[in-house]
Each structure stands twice: as C-alpha cells, then as structure tokens.
C-alpha cells in the first residue's frame, strides 16, 4: 500500500516536471492568428479571469489564467490532451473583465478547434453535428412534438436545406473532422 503511494507520488512529480522538448515555441503565434485570440501575448497573468470564472469555482482544475499561460509557454500537447478545455461555459465574463483585452474564451475555443482537428472531441458535439446535418436542428425533434405544435395552433417548423448544409460541412472541413473523430 505504502509502496503504491510512493510510486504514485513519483509518477505525479514526473507528470508535473516540464521538459524543454515539450515546448513548442511557435504555438503562441499559431494561436494568436486565430480569431479572437490575437491578444494572447498581452496576458500579464493578473488572474481576473480565473477569479471571475463560474466554472473555476466548482472545478479544481479549470483555470483560465493557467490555460493562457500554457499557451504562452508553448505547452501544446499538455493543452490539447487536457479535458478541462471543454469546461468553459462561454459566459464571456473573462472577456468582459480582462484588463488586457485578451479574448480568453476565444482562446479556449481555438484550443478546442485544434483538438478537434486532431480527431478528439466530447461525444455530445458529434451527436449535435450529426443532428444538424440530418435535420438542420441541433436536436432531433420527435414527430409527436410536431403534431403537438399543430394542436397548440403553432405554425409548422421551417425546414432545412439538407443538401446545402452537407456542402458547407464539406467545404469548412467539418466532414473530414467528423470522420476522424475518436471522441
């Protein structure tokens, strides 16, 4: 038991240790080219984002300031393999309060987009994407619901042009991404 704890501690320390080879010095420039993330280099780590983040209050690991720092340091693999990037609820409080006009929520979105490009995303997004492509709506609206609309005197729902959505999905690269997805 004790031995087990010791190995665990060792492994944790190993995990926390950074190697120069982990650093991708160009990563911060790559991110700063993405819409909304232009000011990533201006972050001076004041921590207002983390202090005001509703998610950080309830999660032990989600810290927007830390995510921005990891971007600045170029720890790409550490960021893209980390599930916490999917926790931002896009309330945009961080963007409103940042004294340096850093688009923190946009940086998190950029990280998510890059992760997806590598074939990884939470399964819920794959479902939503597939629903939109099939029906135009993010959820599959059951037939009973449509019938009930009639009974309630509501107009019928506008339909989607599914062929056009499929075209857009191909041209924006989403189709390829969805094929690759391992979730």
């Amino acid at each position: 038991m004790l031995k087990n704890e010791k190995t665990q501690e060792k492994e944790m320390k190993k995990e926390m240790m950074l190697k120069v080879s982990d650093i991708d010095p160009k990563f911060k420039y790559e991110i700063s080219k993405l819409p909304g993330a232009e000011n990533v280099l201006l972050c001076f780590q004041c921590g207002t984002c983390t202090a005001d983040c509703p998610i950080a209050r309830f999660d032990d690991f989600y810290r927007p300031r830390k995510l921005v720092r990891l971007v600045q340091l170029g720890l790409k693999d550490k960021l893209l393999s980390n599930d916490v990037i999917w926790l931002c609820s896009t309330c945009f409080t961080c963007i409103d309060h940042c004294p340096q006009d850093v688009g923190i929520a946009d940086i998190v979105r950029a990280l998510r987009n890059l992760t997806t490009r590598e074939g990884k995303m939470p399964v819920v997004y794959k479902e939503i994407a597939s629903n939109i492509l099939k029906t135009g709506y993010a959820y599959v609206i059951p037939g009973l619901r449509l019938k009930k609309r009639e009974e309630e005197g509501l107009p019928s729902l506008p339909k989607a042009s599914v062929e056009n959505l499929a075209k857009l999905c191909d041209i924006t690269g989403l189709s390829k991404m969805l094929e690759k997805v391992r979730t």
């Binding site: 999660d59 997004y125 135009g136 959820y139 509501l154 107009p155 506008p158 056009n164 857009l168």
Partner: protein, 290 residues
C-alpha cells in the same frame, strides 16, 4: 400605432422542449402589435458547433443572416445563444472584410452572399427599445402586485460587451424594469449575473447543476416567489432540471420559473392556460392565486 415586423428565429431547443416560451411570446407580441414572420427555411444558428469548427459556426450563422436579408427583415430571437451568435457574426462580417470574404467564399458554394443589410435583436430588445415601456404599461390590465420575483437575464444577451453593447452587464436593469411594469416586484439577489451552465451540459453535468443549485439558493434567500428568464437554455436549467437538482443535492426548492412573456401575459389579462403555464415542470399555480 404602426407595428413592427420581425423574422422569428426560433432556434432548436424551443421547438424541441420549451414551447411554452414560444406560445406565450406569440400571444403577447400579437397583442402589442408586433408582427412575426416565420423563417422561410432554417438551420441551427451555429453556436453548438463553435467549439469544434469555428468556420462552420460562422457559415451556419451567416446562412441564416442571408435568409433574413432576402426577406428584407431583421431577425428576432428568443434564445440568448441564438442572439449572441447571430448578432456577433452579423457585426463581425459587417466590420471585418477578411472574415466576410472568407465566409462569402463558403456561401458561394450554395449561391448565397452576405451583404450586411439587417440587424439581429433579442426579444428583450424588442420589448425595451421597439415597443417601449410606455406602450407595455398601457397594455397592463391586471397588475401583479404583491408578487415578488427575481430575474435571470443570462449571458449572451449582454456579454461580450463589445459585441452586444446593451444595458449594463455588471448591473443590468432592463429586465428588472420590464418585470416591474407588470406590477410585480423584482428582488435583488447575490450573483445575479452568474451563468446557468447549460452550454456544458453533456460534457459535464455536475458543474451546471451546482451552478443552478446555487442560484436557486440565492433566490430563495431573498424570498422570491418565482424566477423570470428570457432564454430557453437558462429556463431548462432552472425549471426542467429543478427536480434533478433537488434529487442530487437532497434539497427542496420548489421555485416556479417563468418566461418573461408569461409574466407579462398574466398582467395583460391572458389566462395561465393561454400562456402554457401547464407546460412548466415546477408547478406555478401557487403564485397565480396570490
């Protein structure tokens, strides 16, 4: 009194499970002389796909904007998420030539082009800016005093400030004023601007439930008899998920959650049935007898 006309952008979650919001909105706007036209065709605003592909989000939003441009009508949304996305993309495409060219490049594939001729509004803007407080006041027939409620405005109808620029995001007053026109009193409570957490449901349910629990707790602490929302996602977190929150945290709240048009509709003299009160998960009949 000439009425205004909008293209109604319903979004996905309202027809899926929150039609009480749609029913009450249509009733109230009709009486206030606002004409709604249905979207000729529809696709999701794009918001749920932004995390996985920003370009697809931009293009889905732009496609809806193009449909509205073809109708020569401005869009009115009921959902904060749809508003935030469509408004942001509309402004970004109008202002940023580079992004506009890129998105128009995608849209060319389906013979569409963004021109930038319309605006995007949320229901609350239509109430506050177009119909105006005076006209709403005139429509009140049964003032709701002594009802005490609390507001939950939600995030995307007010943040990020640089794209929305409406009301004060630190201390919003518009929904409060709209509530008080009905005769109900709108109580202040702690962390009014806190997010409901709905966008990460499905990725992580624990945190949104904790956030929603905390809000219900703060509302109860000031003695509000009901919560008033203007977004189907926020409403879902507090109404549909309230029994789940109660089970998870072993705590009873029993706080009815109304869509603003339901509250206004009551004061305008509509019956609870006409406003689809029966579709609410948390029974609201208790506040009706007050």
């Amino acid at each position: 009194m000439s009425g205004s006309k909008y293209l109604l952008f319903l979004g996905c979650v309202i027809p899926y499970r929150i039609s009480s919001y749609e029913i009450s909105t249509r009733k109230v706007l009709d009486k206030l002389g606002v004409e709604l036209k249905e979207m000729p065709e529809f696709n999701c605003c794009g918001f749920p796909l932004d995390p996985i592909n920003h370009d697809m989000m931009l293009t889905l939003a732009a496609r809806n904007l193009c449909l509205a441009e073809q109708q020569n009508l401005s869009i009115m949304t009921l959902c904060n998420g749809c508003f935030g996305t469509l408004n942001h993309v509309n402004k970004e495409l109008k202002e940023d030539e580079k992004i506009r060219e890129k998105v128009n490049g995608y849209l060319k594939e389906i013979d569409m082009e963004f021109e930038g001729t319309i605006t995007v509004k949320h229901l609350i803007h239509v109430f506050a800016q177009d119909i105006g407080y005076e006209r709403i006041k005139e429509s009140i027939q049964k003032p709701l005093n002594p009802l005490h409620v609390a507001q939950h405005l939600g995030c995307h109808v007010i943040r990020p400030t640089k794209y929305v620029g409406f009301d004060d995001p630190e201390n919003p007053s518009v929904l409060k004023e709209l509530i008080e026109i009905t005769g109900a009193k709108c109580l202040n409570y702690m962390d009014e601007m806190e997010c409901c957490g709905a966008p990460i449901i499905g990725v992580n349910d624990k945190i949104p439930l904790q956030l929603a629990r905390e809000k219900l707790d703060h509302i109860r602490a000031v003695g509000a008899q009901a919560l008033v929302t203007v977004c189907p996602f926020c409403h879902m977190m507090y109404d549909l998920n309230q029994p789940r929150i109660e089970r998870t945290f072993n705590e009873k709240f029993d706080i009815p959650v109304l869509h603003y048009p339901q509250l206004l509709g009551l004061a305008m003299g509509f019956s609870p049935d006409e406003l689809a009160f029966k579709q609410l998960r948390v029974d609201a009949s208790r506040i009706l007898t007050n």
